[in-house]
C-alpha cells in the first residue's frame, strides 16, 4: 500500500473507533429515542459521545448538536441565525464551500484575504454592521493550512452585535478548538472518526432555527434518528485529539527539500500554518497530473481539496490569495507520518517533477 498523506481530506480510524461503531451495529442497534432496554444503551452511547465532543470543544455537553458532518453543521449555523433585523452573513474568501456557497446563495458579504491567505481584518471591520447576523471564519484552511486570527475576528463580530461562527473542521489534533465562538463546527472523520458525523456547538441561549423539520431530536435543532454508530466513533476519536499534536519539524524538513526544486512555490509560507500541511505548485506542471505521478510512486497526496479534485476546477483559495497557480499539491500529515515517509516523498517529488519536465 502507498503512504497516506491526505489527512486534511480524511483520516484513518483511531484505536477504539471501529469497535465502538461495530457495537452499535450489533448488540446496541436500538433507537436511542426508545425508552426501553434496547434504546437505553445507544442513548447512553450518544450522551457519552456528546460529552467527549463537548470536552474537545470546551463547551457544555448540552451545547453539542450532532449532524451528518461539517457541511450540515455549517449550513445549520449560518441559515439558522438569520433574522429579519439581521439578514446578512459575512465570511472570508477562503472558507470551505459549505460556508462560502451558503453566504453567496443568501447574498452575504465575502471578505478578502491577503497574499498569504490571512483574512483582511480591516475589510472585515468594514463589512460588519448591525445588519449582520453572523461572521464565519475558519480556524485553519484545509488547502493551505493557514491559520486565521480567530480571536480578532470574534471581537469584530461582537463589537457589531453579530454572532461569531468558526468552522473548526481542520482544528482538532492540530490546535486547540477551545475558542471564543458562539457557534463552532467540527467533523468526525477529520479526527479519526467515521464519515457522516459532525457537530455544531451552540452557545447557551442562542436562538438557532432548525433547518430540518421532523421529530424533536437534538433538542429540536436537528430532526432525524441519530447516527448512533457514527456518533459513538466520533466520541471515541474526540478523546484522542489532544495526544495527537504533531510538531512542525517534519513539515519544515520536507518544505526545505522541495523548495530546492526550481519553480516551486509553497502557498501561505510566512503565515502561521498548521504543522501538518504543506501546499505547493510547480511552474508549468498540472497539479492533478503531479498527483497522479506521486500516486503511482506510492504517495497519496491531494491536488487541491478532495471535494474538487479531478474536476479541473480552480482553487478558490489560491484565487483569493491572488496566486498565479490554479491549483496545488497538498501534503497533509497525521500523527503516525514518519520522517522516513517524508524523505521518500521528497525524493519521489523530485523524480516525478524531473520526469514530467523532460517530456
Amino acid at each position: 500500500m502507498s503512504v497516506y498523506l491526505d489527512y486534511n481530506s480524511t483520516t484513518p480510524p483511531v484505536t477504539g473507533v471501529v469497535d465502538a461503531v461495530l457495537a452499535c451495529l450489533t448488540e446496541d442497534f436500538g433507537n436511542p429515542s426508545s425508552p426501553h432496554a434496547y434504546g437505553r444503551r445507544p442513548k447512553a452511547v450518544v450522551e457519552r459521545a456528546r460529552r467527549q465532543v463537548a470536552a474537545m470543544c470546551g463547551v457544555p455537553a448540552d451545547g453539542v448538536i450532532f449532524t451528518s458532518g461539517a457541511t450540515e453543521a455549517n449550513n445549520l449555523a449560518l441559515k439558522g441565525v438569520l433574522t429579519d433585523a439581521r439578514p446578512v452573513l459575512v465570511c472570508c474568501a477562503v472558507e470551505h464551500p459549505s460556508v462560502l456557497n451558503v453566504v453567496h446563495a443568501l447574498g452575504g458579504r465575502v471578505v478578502p484575504v491577503d497574499a498569504l491567505g490571512v483574512i483582511d481584518l480591516n475589510a472585515l471591520e468594514e463589512a460588519v454592521d448591525d445588519s449582520v447576523a453572523a461572521v464565519s471564519v475558519m480556524i485553519a484552511n484545509n488547502e493551505t493550512g493557514v491559520i486565521q486570527p480567530i480571536a480578532e475576528c470574534a471581537q469584530i463580530a461582537r463589537a457589531a452585535g453579530a454572532l461569531f461562527h468558526c468552522d473548526a473542521t481542520q482544528g482538532p489534533g492540530r490546535m486547540s478548538v477551545v475558542i471564543d465562538a458562539d457557534l463552532l463546527t467540527v467533523s468526525g472523520h477529520k479526527i479519526g472518526g467515521p464519515k457522516g458525523t459532525g457537530a455544531l456547538t451552540v452557545r447557551d441561549g442562542l436562538a438557532l432555527r432548525s433547518q430540518s423539520l421532523g421529530a424533536g431530536h437534538e433538542r429540536g435543532f436537528r430532526a432525524g434518528t441519530l447516527n448512533v454508530p457514527g456518533i459513538a466513533g466520533f466520541g471515541v476519536a474526540a478523546e484522542y485529539t489532544d495526544s495527537k499534536r504533531i510538531s512542525p519539524a517534519r513539515r519544515d524538513a520536507l518544505e526545505a527539500r522541495v523548495l530546492e526544486i526550481g519553480g516551486l512555490v509553497v502557498h501561505g509560507r510566512g503565515a502561521e500554518r498548521m504543522a501538518n500541511t504543506i501546499s505547493f505548485s510547480v511552474e508549468g506542471l498540472h497539479p492533478a497530473e503531479l498527483m497522479i505521478g506521486l500516486d503511482l510512486e506510492g504517495f497519496a497526496v491531494s491536488a487541491g481539496a478532495a471535494c474538487a479534485s479531478g474536476t479541473g476546477q480552480v482553487s478558490h483559495v489560491l484565487q483569493a490569495m491572488g496566486s498565479a497557480h490554479e491549483n496545488a499539491i497538498r501534503v497533509s500529515m497525521g500523527s503516525t507520518t514518519s520522517a522516513a515517509d517524508l524523505e521518500d516523498l521528497a525524493s519521489a517529488i523530485e523524480q516525478v517533477v524531473e520526469r514530467m519536465r523532460a517530456v
Partner: protein, 350 residues
Amino acid sequence: MARLVVAMSGGVDSSVAAAMLHDQGHEVIGIHMRLHDAEPSETSRPGRCCGEQDSQDARLVADTLGIPFYVLDLKQAFKAAVMDPFTQEYLIGRTPIPCVACNGVLKFDVLLKKARALGAEAVATGHYARIDREAGGLLTAVDPSKDQSYFLFPVKAEALDRILFPLGGLTKAQVRAEARRLGLVTADKPESQEICFIPDDDHTAFLQRSLDVSTAGAIVHESGETLGQHDGYFRYTIGQRKGLGIGYSEPLYVLAIDPATKTVTVGSDDRLHRDGLLVSGLNWFDRPAPDQIVQVRLRHRGDLLPCTVSDGDPARVALKRSGRAIAPGQAAVFYDGARVLGGGWIQEAL
C-alpha cells in the same frame, strides 16, 4: 513488464484492452479522458463516449481489474482540436469526421505525452487495428467488419512504437466473451456509434446552437434553376438525397455546397461520380510511388478504390474506378492490402 496507460472510455473494447494487458503482467494505468461537458440530453442513454456514466463504468472495470484509474480533464485540448474545427468545417461547407482528429491529437499526441510524463512506455486503446512491429507501420484489424484503421491515419509514424492495439487480432464477439468471462460491467454495453459530444446524435441541432451566423440560402439545380430555399447549408452533405424537400422529375442529390453564396447545388446521381480528388494534410507511414497502384477508402466502411497518388501535399489522387459522393472534410486513407500507407483530408473531388 512495462508501465502502460490504457485510454478507458467506459466501453467494452477499452475495458478488454486493459484486461488483456493487465493479464500479460504489465503495470496498467487506466485513464478516462474527460473531453467535454455532456450537454443536457433528452434521452440520457449509454453508447456515448465520455459522459459521467461512462467514466463510472470505466472506474468499475479498473476496480475489478485492480488497476489504478484516473480521470484527466482534457476539455480545453478537445475543444481546440476537435469541437471548434468540427463547427468550422461545417461552416465552410464540408463534412468533418471528428473522431479522426481526436485520435490524431487527443489520444496519440496529448495523452501519449501525459502517459510519458507518468513514466509509461506506451498508450493502449481499444481500437481495432494492428501495428506491424517488424516492418513498422499500421495494419488493418483481423476482423474487417470492425476495422478502425480509417480513423487512425493522422497518428505519427514515430508514435507507433509507443502505441498498443491489443484488440487488433480479435473479433468483437471474442472481445465481448472475454469481458463476460472477466465479469466486467461493460460486457454487454451497447456500441457507441455517435459523435460523443453531439447530444442525441443530432448534429444539426448542435450546429444550430454553435453557429452564430445565418447559413440559410438557395437550393439550385445544376442547370441554374432555383428550386427552393434551405435554412442552413450545414444540414447537407455531398450525395445526400433525403431531406431536400423538393419535388422534381428525377431523383436529386446534393452535388456541391458553396458557403460563400450559401448555395446548395443539386443534380442527378451521375454527376456524383468522379475520377479523382485532391487530398491535403497528408500523413504517411509508407508513401507509395506516384505510379504505384494502391487502394483508397473515402469514407468509413467505404469501398477500397484502386488509385495512384501524386507527389506533394496536396496530392492528386487518380481513381482507376470512379468514386461516388466524394465529400470534402472526410478522410482519404490509402491501403496496400492490409497495410495502411497513410491518409489525408479530402479537399475536393476532381
